[in-house]
Amino acid sequence: MTQYRVLPGPEHFLPPSAASMGICLPNPGEAHVNGVIVPEERAYEEAAKQFLMAKVPTIFPGPLVLWAWNEKAAKKATAVRHLYNTLKECVQPGQTPMLIPMPDYRPKYPKINPEVEINPNHPNLTIWHNKIDCCMFVGVHCHQANLALKIIRGGTSCYTVAMCAQAGHEDAMLSFRDASVEKIMKLAEWVRKLKGTVQPRLTSAKSGASN
């Protein structure tokens, strides 16, 4: 049993992959929080809490939900928009929810515009620029999500959530698996349920200042 926990960074110049530290992915019906397997219900509560505590809670939708390449993707995109709108309704003054797309994975030089997008090759630029202290990846191909999640953990203190349509991500601090429209909607329900019960961190996000 590993003692390693997947926690907000900045962790290391080059942090290890969580899998190499013995963190395992959840089975269907489960999720993980900080690398510890939990029932999925527990993860909804924790993810909603993290969103409501954050100064800049942000959703990063990737190509698999940004483009209407099939009916399911279009429905997921609507659910993501609903989650974002719910966040905006439920936060307190001083909190600024954001929705920033990851439209593709192209390496872009000299750098991306962090105000309008996030890129898996240098995700920290967007995190730092917008002082994002909690984010959720959804609709990002698994390899690219893990790439970005590891870099974020290495260089920022941002709390990361993955809403993964496949097996989940150990490199996020919290990960769902088998993401569906229903699961995204359920997370929105939890955000609404916890509205007003969570004290937001209104001090400046450490992530923006780190490294």
């Binding site: 080059l14 290890p16 899998a19 395992c24 593709d104 390496p107 898996p120 090759n121 191909h141 290495g154």
Partner: protein, 402 residues
Amino acid sequence: MADTHSVIGTKNKKGQTFTDTWAMMNDAPRTPSFYTGSEVIKEALRRASCDVMIAYPITPQSEAAALIGELFAEGYIGDYFRGESEFAVMSQCAGAAFGGARVFTTTAGPGTMRAMENFPMWSGARLPIQMIVTCRGINSPLSIQPDTLEIAYLLNTGMLVWHAETAQDFFDWILKGYMVSEEPDVHLPLALCCDGFFVTHTKDVVNLTPADMCLPPYDPYRSPVPCMDMECPPVRMMRDPFVMKSNYISYATHASWQQEVWAAVERSRKHTIKWLNGLIETENTDAEILIVASGTAVSQGREAIRLLEDEGIRCGLVKVKVLRPWPGEEIREATKNAKHIIVPEFNVTGWLAKEIKATIPNSERVHAGPRVCGGMTMPPEIIVSEIKTLLGIHTVSMASRG
């Protein structure tokens, strides 16, 4: 969009029924058949719903490659052709896999070495290609005979590496291999190795699943990277590697990318344990003497154990089925009681013994040998002799056999 589960129970163009793989491998009736290893590869492929097989002749895999050509002629394989060289074959395999196909190929010895540049590329691009490696000698002077040295070179490519002992292993693992390597959290190539000739060219009784059942097709939409997108990595890297940009973030991205490949190797552990019933197999691990081996060295070890038992010497066995991911925990546990760990190998460097030494406490317990190479056989008597020498028991030299 393909949905693998929706096709279960339906038939392919050859009249085979797409079958839940777990049910096919564990519950379906088996028919004992007397086949060479090469014929077994063909029979596994008949049931594998393989889209593309690319071949190039090199001993001792040529027969298997040719037999799969017959499968193509019969309509069981989507496409089949011969590449210009092993390097070309492995590059063409990558192209087919980038395009979303289930891909199979076979190679051996110098062919493996010639194609080597492609293997880390396959892993980095997360392509779940299956490659059979029928190991043979690789160095000059040329030898086509059994020798497992090439496996050492595959261990750090980021591929999954399994080492079959028998033709039965081969049949089952080809089919199960796709199930592991195509998991979206794994999605890596598999090098399924065997000792050339010993497995490929000898006949054995192999229990086959029904020929009218086949694997569900590969679903490329579960891939962790986009299929064949010329603008995005991994395909884009072939023409515009971001690592070529000299800045910190490019290096950090590449580092994270490499870590992700090895994270995927780690993730395969759970799936491999499920499908292969563990990464190792053990017998009598409470014995003070333990043979730890992979491939056909396991078979020779079994025979040596039988000979030792006749003389009242008790010896246990660890069969290492999977080399990547490396079964470190399992080997530590299996060897904890052993005073002497014997590692017989069919190669000159003893790569398996080195891996084991790096894994267990008190590694002076590891006796790296006996080793043969270049096509030599390994009579069980030389394992017996080695063990007796370790125990201080007088033994007759095997040198006169040479």
